[in-house]
């Protein structure tokens, strides 16, 4: 059968190995927590992860078998459903200070995870239609609106990390479809400006990085002065941010300001994120070249890392499997991403190609931010490590995306 002949087995194998590694690390984490409670924990984390895995396999199979034309048709509907879910989750009573979850029986579901997929498919559909050109407003404006609505809703939860993922997917996808560098700069630079201003004002107390950035922007605008409108907009946007962001910042409540500065600078949150990062660095660093051996990690048992089975699972991996193990994992992820981009080149469908780039960007972004966070070089963002972290929504989404990739690779000749 042609489906099995052309399917990209390398992707499937990478994903399989990563999942097995993830399961064993989740088991190892459960294993370390007190003898008396081990049974109970294994009973929840490990067996629940198995349950999610089972559902993931099923979702993957479904994603693979349905011709991808169907996804293209349903993309907007899925996007709308996700938006509704995001709105509903905001309207529900808060679980703690954040509103990210639906709880159905023992399972918690995070609609923002599914929105990532819906956004990829919806953008791919818009960009794949012939006559689409991201450099033209009639393509770009719908795309930006489709970006801003979920971005704002997720920010509102508030979940800064997931909101950033949307940016991380959008830019590569637009670039793939021929979006000009100047335009990318136009989209990206306000974000950089904001970060530099807030960071400069509240963390380093040094306004110069933003000043230098503005000078760079001015230089670029001058060099690209043949695109007059774009250049002027670029300067206006960034100078505007410089003028108005401090005012807006002053209107935020102290706890909201703290949330942002803690995100940008985990060290400032010594009781929470900063402490976690220190513990994580000790765990990873003490793992050394060869690691302490599976189930032999000591740091995971000592100070209770609240998220060591979810967002901080890489610290346990780094401790037990060492630099070699971490390299192996990164290699598998690297192969997965490169193979995904190869599918994008091979497939004849513009929709499939664009979606592939979005999926590659999704995986790459999650991997950078998650591992960077555990290694102390990225913000503590609450982003799970695909295939490895404990967590149902992330698992289902990752497997669905793998199913899609296999689908695209097997049907490469379809339009």
């Amino acid at each position: 059968m042609r489906l099995t002949r052309d399917v990209d087995w390398v992707i499937a194998i990478c994903c399989g190995i990563l999942t097995l590694v993830g399961l064993s690390i989740v088991f190892s984490v459960s294993h370390s927590i007190g003898e008396e409670h081990a049974e109970w924990l294994r009973g929840t984390y490990f067996s629940r992860q198995l349950l999610w895995l089972g559902m993931g396999m099923f979702v993957m199979l479904v994603a693979f078998l349905i011709p991808f034309r169907v996804y293209e048709t349903l993309a907007f509907a899925a996007y709308a459903v996700c938006l509704i879910l995001l709105i509903v989750v905001l309207a529900l009573p808060a679980r703690g200070e954040t509103q990210r979850w639906f709880v159905i029986g023992p399972l918690a579901i995070q609609p923002s995870e599914f929105t990532k997929v819906a956004v990829i498919l919806a953008w791919a559909r818009v960009l794949a239609s012939h006559r689409s050109n991201p450099n033209r407003p009639r393509t770009l404006i719908p795309i930006l609106i489709m970006f801003l609505v979920p971005f704002a809703l997720v920010l509102r939860q508030p979940d800064l990390g997931t909101a950033m993922v949307f940016v991380g997917i959008l830019l590569p996808v637009l670039y793939w479809r021929g979006f000009r560098g100047l335009h990318i700069l136009f989209l990206l630079s306000p974000l950089v400006s904001s970060v530099l201003i807030i960071y400069g004002e509240n963390v380093t107390h040094n306004p110069w990085p933003f000043g230098i950035f503005i000078v760079l922007i001015l230089i670029v605008a001058y060099l690209r002065r043949q695109f007059l409108v774009e250049s002027i907009s670029l300067v206006v946007a960034n100078v505007g941010i410089g003028l108005f962001l401090p005012v807006f910042w002053g209107h935020l409540k102290p706890y909201q300001q703290r949330r942002v500065t803690n995100f940008l600078d985990p060290d400032s949150d010594k009781l929470g994120a900063g402490w976690q990062v220190i513990q994580s660095k000790i765990a990873i660093g003490s793992g050394g070249f060869g690691g302490k051996g599976y189930l032999e990690g000591t740091q995971k048992a000592l100070d209770y890392l609240p998220a060591k089975h979810t967002d901080f699972i890489f610290s346990v991996l780094g401790e037990e499997l060492g630099f070699v193990g971490a390299l192996a994992i990164l290699f598998l992820f690297g192969v997965l991403i490169v193979r995904t981009l190869m599918v994008a080149q091979k497939t004849k469908s513009e929709f499939a190609a664009t979606a592939c780039v979005g999926i590659a960007a999704y995986f790459a972004f999650q991997i950078f931010v998650n591992i960077g966070m555990t290694a102390g070089i990225a913000p503590v963002a609450g982003i799970p490590l695909p295939f490895i972290s404990y967590g149902g929504s992330s698992m289902l989404v990752s497997f669905f995306l793998i199913g899609l990739l296999l689908n695209f690779s097997a049907r490469w000749s379809e339009y």
């Binding site: 007190g34 003898e35 008396e36 409670h37 808060a94 679980r95 703690g96 200070e97 954040t98 590569p172 670039y175 793939w176 060290d267 010594k270 009781l271 929470g272 900063g274 402490w275 220190i278 513990q279 660095k281 000790i282 765990a283 990873i284 660093g285 003490s286 793992g287 050394g288 070249f289 000591t298 740091q299 000592l302 100070d303 780094g318 060492g322 630099f323 971490a326 390299l327 990164l330 690297g334 991403i337 490169v338 981009l341 994008a344 080149q345 780039v357 590659a360 790459a364 991997i367 950078f368 591992i371 960077g372 290694a375 102390g376 070089i377």
Partner: protein, 606 residues
């Protein structure tokens, strides 16, 4: 395509470079950390803000107490420790284990406070024998300390241990064993009172020796903000003691007529908030909940009673404003009864009052006069007057739980009985404050205050300000029509209730202080009548107003009015208002507890 791959390659290189630095270049350093030294952190409670009265005197503070906590992994470990300790320290093994199981169920695997309130002996024993009991640790903590005898208990409220849900919902603000305000001002002002915890990070060797503090990871705790009450604590104590002379459930509130600041307020019977701060036992809590007199029920803002004859003041406003009758007219000859249709309505005075006009009907609290008014007054006209006095809504007091009063309107009756299925007869009960009208002591006290201050409905409040914050805005609204001749008339009537020999509170008259008052008797189908009294003083230059309700205490004047008299006599006692030179009052503003504010809340010896 190539650019994307290059970008991804750069990202991967950064990650790999970073991991190489951590795991290969700096490996020795981190391995050392992991092997020999551990980071231990200790959370330092941020002291909760104090509560002070208007003179700055401390009403609620924090006392330094010590507890012995145990790090444990299994239940057997705890049991063994308890068994090993029992020959040396008196400890009830079964009870300790029962507490442990409750703790485990509540918080999971968190260090267990084996002795929540350890005395010197236990502390020194644990410190001396730390090698034998390495899992035990002495921790200091601040416990909330409230006035004894349940004084102002319902006002101040209490703190209690956080629940597992509180912890989960707080994103790290709370940890097991923390306290938060559960009732009263403690709950209302929780966000201001709560201190911000700090932490002390220590580098500790594997053998348990502290190497030193890691200052980059340590932060100092920040104390919560103090509350400054409008309360006068001496008068608060006195009010509680006056009410304590009767066993009856009661509620009382005394407020500043201009600002609405509450000088004293009480709800009886009281409870001891200190028991909650120490961790109340389930058995005792249950007995309080089952108690028929409901000690935990806050009668100040939550108990609604028929306002009874105190309501004759709002009725009189309706009469004067709507010109229902000429106030000077002798409307009724009271012979003790009034016939409406085939029903007999009785005056409280069986032999009758004789000829009554509005003034004498208020002074004598003659019901027959008001029954006549009831026949002539529209439901909504009276409701408008009651609404003007705020009976239909909450008073806006700064307590977490308050109920509105009740004002029956035409719509209310139509909804309740059906259109046309009720008669004017209901109004005969309403005009004497019985019927469907309901209010708390706060509502009634506001009526007295409004007459006293020239017609302003004030917002009652306990907290005058939060230290270090701008003053809190309080609202004030005009009672329509309560001015000019109407106001003068109502003031004179209330004054005559006390000053006129025939007045219902005449026997509580003070020769040196003019008091304006109104008695009330709320009929109670379940038992003896409730006794109401509202008043303000001095009548010619009003400063404070009060409302007192004593449940099942019989007729209005009998119990409540003398309490008010004694309170006012003490409040306005010349030697209290103008105390002798301050040298005679050294230390009156400070209790020994003053020092605990700066007490070191840390602890944590091995």
């Amino acid at each position: 395509m190539r650019t994307l791959i290059v970008l991804i390659a750069i990202g991967f290189s950064i990650i790999i470079g970073r991991l190489f630095t951590l795991q290969v270049v700096q490996h020795e350093q981190y391995a050392q950390f992991a092997r020999d030294n551990q980071l231990e952190r200790e959370r330092i409670q941020g002291p909760r803000g104090l509560v002070r009265d208007r003179t700055g005197r401390i009403v609620v503070d924090n006392a330094l107490t010590f507890q012995i906590v145990m790090q444990w992994r299994t239940r057997d470990e705890v049991q063994r420790a308890v068994r090993e300790l029992s020959p040396w320290i008196p400890i009830d093994t079964t009870r300790a284990m029962a507490r442990f199981e409750a703790w485990q169920k509540r918080y999971g695997r968190v260090a267990f406070p084996l002795f929540p309130d350890a005395d010197k002996f236990v502390i020194s024993f644990v410190r001396e024998n730390w090698e034998q009991f390495p899992h035990l640790r002495v921790e200091s903590r601040l416990r909330r300390r409230y006035p004894d005898l349940g004084i102002a208990a319902h006002v101040l409220g209490y703190v209690g241990e956080v629940s597992q849900t509180d912890i989960e919902n707080s994103e790290g603000v709370f940890v097991a064993g923390d306290f938060l305000g559960k009732a009263g001002l403690e709950r209302q002002y929780e966000s201001r009172l709560r201190g911000t915890p700090g932490q002390r990070a220590m580098e500790v060797t594997a053998s348990g020796t502290a190497l030193g503090e890691v200052s980059e990871l340590s932060t100092a705790p920040i104390p919560g903000r103090d509350l400054i009450l409008a309360m006068d604590y001496d008068m608060q104590e006195y009010l509680d003691s006056l009410l304590a002379e009767h066993d009856n459930p009661a509620a009382a509130v005394v407020l500043d007529v201009e600002t609405g600041g509450i000088i004293a307020a009480a709800s009886r019977p009281p409870y001891d908030p200190n028991e909650f701060a120490a961790g109340v036992s389930a058995g005792h809590l249950n007995s309080m909940l089952m108690d028929r007199t409901k000690p935990l029920f806050n009668r100040i803002g939550q108990a609604r009673y028929p306002p009874a004859s105190t309501f004759k003041i709002p009725v009189a406003l309706a009469i004067l404003e709507n010109r229902i009758v000429d106030p000077a007219r002798i409307l009724a000859y009271c012979d003790g009864t009034h016939r409406f249709g085939n029903r007999i309505f009785r005056c409280w005075k069986e032999e009758g009052h004789g000829g009554m006009n509005l003034m004498s009907a208020i002074v004598n609290s003659c019901d027959v006069y008001f029954y006549k008014i009831g026949e002539m007054t529209d439901v909504d006209v009276l409701a408008a007057s009651a609404t003007a006095f705020g009976f239909d809504r909450k008073t806006g007091i700064d307590l977490p739980t308050e109920v509105a009063g009740n004002v029956p309107t035409r719509r209310y009756y139509d909804k309740r009985f059906g259109k046309g299925r009720w008669t004017q007869g209901l109004m005969l009960n309403n005009v004497i404050g019985q019927g469907e009208y309901l209010g708390t002591v706060l509502h009634v006290a506001r009526v007295a205050a409004a007459v006293a201050n020239g017609g302003w409905l004030v917002q009652p409040h306990f907290v005058d300000r939060v230290a270090g914050e701008p003053p809190i805005e309080r609202t004030r609204e005009k009672v329509p029509g309560l001015e000019g001749n109407t106001l003068t008339f109502l003031r004179r009537s209330m004054l005559n209730v006390v000053e006129d020999p025939s007045g219902t509170a005449a026997w509580t008259r003070l020769s040196w202080l003019k008091v304006a008052g109104k008695t009330g008797t709320a009929q109670n189908s379940h038992g003896d009548h409730h006794s109401w009294y509202m008043a303000y003083a001095p009548a010619d230059d009003p400063k404070i107003a009060l409302a007192i309700m004593v449940e099942n205490a019989g007729h209005g004047g009998e119990v409540s009015a003398p309490i008010a008299r004694d309170f006012l006599a003490e409040y306005f006692r010349p030697s209290r208002l103008n105390p002798p030179p301050p040298t005679a009052r050294v230390g009156s503003g400070a209790t020994p507890a003053d020092s605990t504010r700066n007490a070191n809340p840390q602890g944590g010896m091995p």
